[in-house]
Amino acid sequence: MTSHRITQGGLIDRSRPLRFSFDGKTYQGYEGDTLVSALLANGVRIMGRSFKYHRPRGPWGAWVDDPNAVFNVTLGGVEFPNCPGATTMLRDGMVTRSVNAFPSASFDLKGGLDLLHRWLGAGFYYKTFIWPDWHLFEPMIRRMAGLGAVSAEVIEGYASDQMHDRCEVLIVGGGAAGLAAARAAAESGRDVVLVEDHDQAGGRLYQLDSVEGQTPQDWVADQLAAIEAAGGRVMTRTTAFGVFDHRMVGLAQQGPFGYAPRLWRMRADRIVLASGAIDRPVTFANNDRPGVMSLDGACEWLARYGVLAGRNIAVLSNNSFAAPAARMLAEAGAEVTEIDPTTGPIRALGSKRLKGIEVAGKRHPADTILVSGGMTPLVHLWRHAGGKLDWDERTQAFLPGAAPEGMAAIGAANGTFDLDQALTEARAVARDEPRPDRAGDYRVKPLWPEPGSKGRQWIDFQHDVTLKDVELAARENYVSVEHLKRYTTLGMAQDQGKTSNMAGLAAMAAIQGRPIPEVGTTTFRPPFVPQPIALYSGPHAGQLYHPLKRLALEPLHRAADAALGEYGGWLRPGWYGSGDPAGHVRAEVIKARETAGILDASPLGKVEVMGPDAESFVNFIYYNTIKTLKPGHIRYGFMLTERGNVMDDGVIARLGPNRFVISCSSSHTDHVRAHLEAWRQDGNDPDRIFIHDLTQQWSTLTVTGPKARDIVAALDMPLDLSADAFPHMTLRETTLNGTPVRVARVSFTGDLSFEISIRSSRAADLWQALCAAGESVGAGPIGIEALSVLRAEKGFIIIGKDTEGETMPHDLGFGIPRQKKQAAFVGDRSLHMEVANRDDRRQLVGFRVDPGAPPLPTGAHLIGDGDTPRSEGYVTSSYDSPTLGHPIALGLLERGADRIGERVAVWHLGQRSSATVCAPCFFDPEGERLNA
């Protein structure tokens, strides 16, 4: 008989059978089963393979402490990778397969790797694959690494909801202590939330016959009813996976299988940790054999799922929980032998099928070895919050010590393992009454790994870290537990050390002859159990991952066949037309030079500075002198950081004595606004300066090119556009069909340009009028790509592209304010520090290439010609200029201004070429077209 299901008991629903398969074979389980409990009930022992040696693995624990049973699960045609079998609830029709095994867990082709274990110890690949070249081995190792594979269908639509909430008392864990505390707190009038990661609260209570005179089921139901009656909330299938700053607890609430969990960011005034404890493995020879399982896990399988782990059971335990556990298993029909593990060397007998256990030379036949090396409180969240741990000799465990603000631990998580004491403690803590001293009948004998002992003794089951690996790490001086972990990968398996850390650090303590508390633990970090990345990204996926700002005129651009792309956080037309981007861009450049281009420049910043101190403020903010700027006039200038580096460039217009408009770069507007606000409030009188960012109130369309004036003249604006009446670098406020508009004569192309700004809701009218007027002279829309070429032809820079973090204005040819400006301005003193005066500063220059040579690669290095070439700068912008008929480039070059005419070597990805340094302006250097 292979069924391990007993006929009654447990929380499963025997009236609802579920069919599923594992590694190609079909099985039956029940509603309420986990994948592991259902497989165990069917007599399946081998559920996976270890990571490195591909050793057969059976389940160790019944819940979050199992590192071995990891499955890919297909349901509804979609495969989900790396589902922990011990905590994944069975659903009808699940198709499961073991990870890291082929063709199946019970027969794995790579099982032969285990024969090589002598050569595959800790750190083997650090040592082995360095010669002759790691890259030779990398592809093979990458193929062997990792567990299950993610399929694209899983990612599509797999998104977590994210909720923010708060409560007065958050109780983590719905076992005996958690339930008692939640009820007591809720009945004292507190706003309580209780989270429990199982489907059904109750913790280990179902292993008992009775609780306070009731059956466990009745007692749990009563507590839950009382909590909810008192206004408390109970969240099952919900894991508190981390405690973050200011008592924000991350909760992952499971939905139906295949759906991403929901994230709750729960802010709690008080956190009560009732997360329980888990059984520790015992380190002995062949302790990784399938059939060596956690005693507490076996009791859970029996109590919750009606599954008896074995027929002939050896119980190997060092503590007082063994007797009731053995009694429970025997009552369910197993033969049980209790064995004292402290009498001598231990060895499991058998291989894939367990035959027995040998202790101090004496053999005991058994098909199952249930192990308990003592209880380990789950103190992860305590440590996340910064709580201290104290080593407790009585319980042989690290227990919560000094508490973090607003946090308390109760029950088994606090080392209070006996039920009566735990309930008393929980109620006292919940009611803010003094808690009783830790006490109890729980007894445990010290039992830790013995360095030097015989046989292969597993410490980390999934990652194949053995006692010998810990000894090796110690010999090689990886003695800190943090180094030990990284060198051996101990504790880095799916269970993140829940089963292995205590044995690992105890082994290191023994090797070094130090007490366990002196060796200490590794850092506990969230998440407590693995969580999908989707939990953290939430709705911020797809278009909402990095949402772009959208233009008011987007529908019109789309209608004009615009190719849209991201430019500085905005979705903007790169060019117009489908296919052959380079051809379209080229045509747009030529159009702008020959007739005119119409560009949507709406993202340009429009930050107004107003107030009695506005003038002195902008004069302080700008590198250039602004206070002499007259109303209706515009000036080009730089904003610097206090280190003197160029932060942004652009024009500033003066609308009136107390009113300026800063037209900062499209992608820098938010940054500039914050920069202005900071200086406004720190060092200035904020009652006399006000900053309004009106960028999105106004849409701006630029008409640039020799025919620009004709096109703008076709608009119904009462405005004299002649060069005399409306010269370059001035601004006019007027109306278009009665709607206020601002028209600025500024140019980023080197050609005659008009920038027309109008409220965004009217921008469509303006666009259509300009396009209609443009059509008659052969002008039309141009995108950002054409603008980038046009401005480079003129030698106009883009901050952040043609400048870098050390660029100062005099590196760009703007040295006058540095010498002449009397008033203080941001960054002023930095422009006269030693670094600013160095003669090898990288300066803006242009580059030409030989006739017929291709454009220089953007980012290429300019290297000296010495024996050891050194980067003296780089190409920042490079285009094949349609206007000039040859490639042009801008770049930053050491002492560039003094090297005009010099040949420089250019290096890019191993390729060398050369270029001639020139002035950065290639087009209309006299500015005749600009001022037309």
């Binding site: 973050f244 700053d245 200011h246 924000m248 960011r265 802010r267 910064g386 603000e405 206090e642 280190r643 914050a674 606000e677 900071a678 409030q681 720190d682 060092g683 904020p686 009397q822 008033a823 203080a824 301005f825 002023d828 003193r829 930095s830 520090m833 030693e834």
Partner: protein
């Protein structure tokens, strides 16, 4: 995730805030002589204290610049006051 108290808006999620610097720095008067050492100290010297710190933060949604006292080890917020002294 931390909760920072904006003196005007009250407690808000840390994602609404931006660190603006340690408090106590005064910009030298650059219309007069400022030695390179003084300027470098102003630019570069940070106390970077462990424990109780006083810092300037900006609440981005309302642009308030304010002084927050907090513990750089425990992350506890100890006080929060407007940078300007004439308001509450």
């Amino acid at each position: 995730m931390q909760l920072f108290p904006c003196p005007f808006c009250g407690p808000r999620d840390e994602r609404e805030f931006h660190f603006a610097g340690e408090i106590g720095k005064t910009r030298p008067d650059t219309t007069g002589e400022v030695s390179a050492e003084d300027w470098a100290r102003y630019l570069n010297t940070q106390r970077n204290e462990k424990g109780r710190v006083r810092e300037v933060w900006m609440h981005l949604t309302c642009s308030e610049l304010f002084v927050m006292e907090r513990d750089s080890v425990t992350m506890e917020v100890l006080s929060s006051t407007p940078l300007r002294e004439d308001v509450e």
